[in-house]
């Protein structure tokens, strides 16, 4: 009857190692096609006739960040969709609990006016920042040259959206508790005009228009995102000292997502270092973007109450992350 | 050609099962006065309501004896006809 069935243990592309692949490797590797031909990433007219083929050639194939086979990259968390939703559902369950508990004890009503000023100016406008981070992660999804990178960036996009949503949620709660204040009304104005935000906004806008895939990855995931997440850590610490336990817990939870981004980003750097010259390229971009990042941290942190040392702490944490990347001198 | 929209029938396509059955009952309850057609296929029901279809989660919950959210409906609704409007308490399917 039917033709003799041939059998295989795993995908031919994963067979050489003679090790049972993980579910992550089975479902996330080797799925990209736009990394096949330099001038014809997409199956239509080659560059320059097709704008998108030209875009991809210029920004990926001709990027200073190079690797012979990006598809070999692996996310150290081996995160797959069904694990992502499971983990984030648990985290959101926890955050729901936090928000509810604090609600029941009238947390928002009890906050000091001085602290409410801080929330209004430095916390609730962060949904614009989260939106910028969400947009940039989405750029990485569509430009990254390997499916394992695409997936990691996709989950990061989800995380940024998660916190944009939570901040919107908290903004409305604060508005309900303090209807006479600017919550829910003045965030855009702060984001666009308040001096405290201008460093961060300048940094994010400039990252967003950095279309070279390698530089965008470095500028966002190794510098800008790290820097702005460190400003959140400082905000969370200040909140703790000002009786806002809720915000300090929310910041801690958000930083768990940031840690995951740092893990896959650091792993991307480690993976890319096998290609000669990449360490200089990456270090060069970090140096290029750090002045803006420092300025962003300083303008934001100096607006925090009792802010002595906040900016220095944040910058030190960013620099420590950079040292951990093993780029050498 | 059957593309006249004045009397377009709209509504969800529900996977067969407990939720699907409850949705059929709830739609019949919440759309009285409108013509309703239930088409049975091998693995799904197509529920067609003339002009507009209202699906209230509370009514579905009454049929099931448990709380129902839009996510419960979505998980059993692979398709629908009409322009959908989803909110916390209900889904409406509009014909135009």
């Amino acid at each position: 009857m039917p033709v003799e069935l041939r059998k295989m243990k795993t995908w031919s592309k994963l067979a050489a190692r003679k090790r049972r692949p993980s579910e992550y490797e089975i479902v996330t590797t080797n799925l990209q096609t736009r990394n096949r031909h330099a001038n014809q990433a997409y199956e239509l007219s080659p560059a320059p006739d097709l704008a998108m083929n030209e875009w991809y050639e210029k920004n990926v194939f001709n990027s200073a960040l190079q690797h012979e086979d990006w598809e070999e990259f692996r996310d150290p968390d081996e995160l797959i969709y069904r694990v992502y939703t499971r983990k984030q559902d648990s985290q959101e369950e926890y955050v729901d609990g936090l928000v509810n508990e604090h609600n029941e004890i009238g947390h928002d009503q009890d906050l000091e006016p001085r602290w409410l000023d801080v929330l209004e100016r430095l916390y609730t406008p962060r949904r614009y920042l989260q939106s910028a981070l969400q947009m940039n992660a989405a750029y990485l999804v569509q430009i990254a040259p390997a499916s394992t990178l695409t997936a990691a960036a996709g989950f990061q996009e989800g995380d940024e959206f998660r916190w944009m949503s939570r901040i919107a949620y908290r903004t409305r709660e604060l508005q309900i508790a303090h209807p006479d204040r600017g919550f829910g009304k003045k965030e855009r104005d702060y984001w666009e005009n308040d001096p405290a935000w201008q460093g961060i906004r300048e940094l994010m806008e400039k990252v967003l228009i950095t279309y070279d895939w390698g530089e965008n990855f470095v500028a966002s995931n190794l510098v800008a995102k790290v820097a702005v997440d460190e400003t959140l850590r400082q905000l969370g610490a200040t909140a703790r000292h000002n009786g806002d336990q809720l915000l300090s817990h929310l910041a801690d939870n958000q930083l768990l997502d940031s840690d995951r981004s740092r893990r896959w980003s650091a792993a991307t750097v480690a993976f890319s270092l096998s290609h000669p010259g990449n360490n200089k390229v990456i270090a060069g971009w970090i140096d290029k973007w750090m002045p803006l990042a420092r300025k962003a941290i300083e303008t934001y942190c100096s607006a925090l109450p009792e802010s002595d040392g906040a900016a220095d702490n944040a910058i030190a944490n960013v620099e420590a992350f950079h040292r951990s990347l093993g780029l050498g001198d | 050609m059957a593309n006249v929209n004045e009397d377009r029938y709209v509504g969800p396509v529900m996977r067969k099962g407990e939720i699907g059955d409850a949705v059929i009952e709830a739609i019949q309850e919440d759309n009285k006065g409108r013509d309703i057609i239930i088409e049975e296929h091998e693995s799904y029901f197509r529920i067609k309501v003339e002009g507009e279809c209202l699906l209230r989660f509370e009514t579905v919950g009454d049929m099931l004896g448990s709380d129902v959210a839009s996510s419960d409906i979505e998980s059993a609704m692979p398709a629908f006809e009409g322009f959908i409007r989803v909110s916390t308490d209900q889904i409406r399917f509009l014909s135009k």
Binding site: S12, Q32, E92, F155, R201 | -
Partner: protein, 498 residues
Amino acid sequence: MAMLKMEDWYDLARETSWTPSYVRVDEMFPKPMSNDFDIPISEWEKFDEPYKISYREYVRMQRDKDVSAYSVKAALARSKFFENASPHWKALLALHFSTVGWSEFHSASCFARQSRFGRSPGMRNMATFGTLDEIRHGQIQIFFGYEFLKHDAVFDWCHKSSKTENWIPISLRHALDDICHTRDATTAAIMLTVGFEQSFTNLQFVALSADAAKCGDHTFATMLTSVQTDEARHAQIGEPLVRIMCANGKKEEAQKLVDIAFWRMWKQFSVLSGVGMDYYTPIEHREHSLKEFMEEWVIGQFGRSVVALGLDLPWYWDELHKDIESFHHAQQIGLYVYRALQWWRPIAGVSPDEREWLEKKYPGWNESYGKCWDVVTENIRNGDLEKTVPPVPPLVCNMCGLEVAGGVGDHWHPVNYNLELDGRRYHFCSSVCKWIFEEEPERYKGHTSIIDRVLDGTVPPGPDGLFEYMGQSEAERGVDGYDYEWIDGYNVIREAAE
């Protein structure tokens, strides 16, 4: 105070647009990525998500969906369903899993383009769910396809086909890159969600699921509908976009995007779903023919919604009606006679019983396509297997990448629509594929079909050159799924007659 309802706070989550001042707006939303069609930003910001959901609800719901879908698979893993499935169904599973998994994964990038370059925050948020959904659809289908690998090496193509230069992945990439990946955010959103997801994914994920359920393949049936529950949500991005375009005098532009995308995906699905439903599904398990499913889901449901949205039916609607009755029948003959070019084991699907079914569903089939199969059948009965494989390569359409087959009546009528441009001759299977090319020749003219590549020397010469080029080892060349035993049905008839 209890938890806020989504309506109470959601509006804030879509007030996230700002006016950049450190960079220019046209730098942040460059034209190739973000076409505003000269519609003011204030109009785009009217985008109101028809299908609203919060991140919090999303992860809860999606977690539950996966728990259900994967648990059905685990429960049935030992049922030996696959080992006992007919070669028909195995061919269908191979065709589905080796083309659909990776192409859905790619769609994550298309939604990401909408999240980054969409002009309205509501659209950017909805598209973020789209990105996550499509990662799911890639991963779950690849995982389910992987299960079969230990039974059949054909399923290696679930993982490897995307990068190969086999003619089918070329054809599929060409279509999807055209509508999803090489377009700006607004265009891609309309083409993908209106031109494709609101129409054809229902065929493969709801209609085919009914066939799968009838076959007893509950793992596949459950997975298909579970995937489509996501599609039905994120596909709604297109509705407000089309409304905004129509309200701002850009109906014609929106119409063209839908017309192009719909036709391009019709060609893909006529092969994937058409051959799958009318030839690869065992007849005792067929819920409907492709034509009947098309009438329900596409001609009917999709056609009505396009008109309700304020657009017209695509100009080629009459052509489509004819194509529904013919195109996939012609492609099926090509898939079978050139079977070595496929990585799976194609099914002829024309035993006497099946021919009776085809004649009933497509009156006149016997007098047209049936006559071609008469010749194939006769050659097999006489043992002239080499005569069942045409000596010359097929002519391939420079748009859809599928065989230029044409219609069949008393005679075979392959109509070759062609045109000359810059000294090169392009061939098309239909007036619509040719129309798409002529609308924007720059997009398409530099692409070569698999046959162009044979003729221009890109494909190495020699009998194995094409297979090497397409990434097919000798063991990966398609052979008749039944080793020709389906012919026994005819022998019985002949013996009875004698």
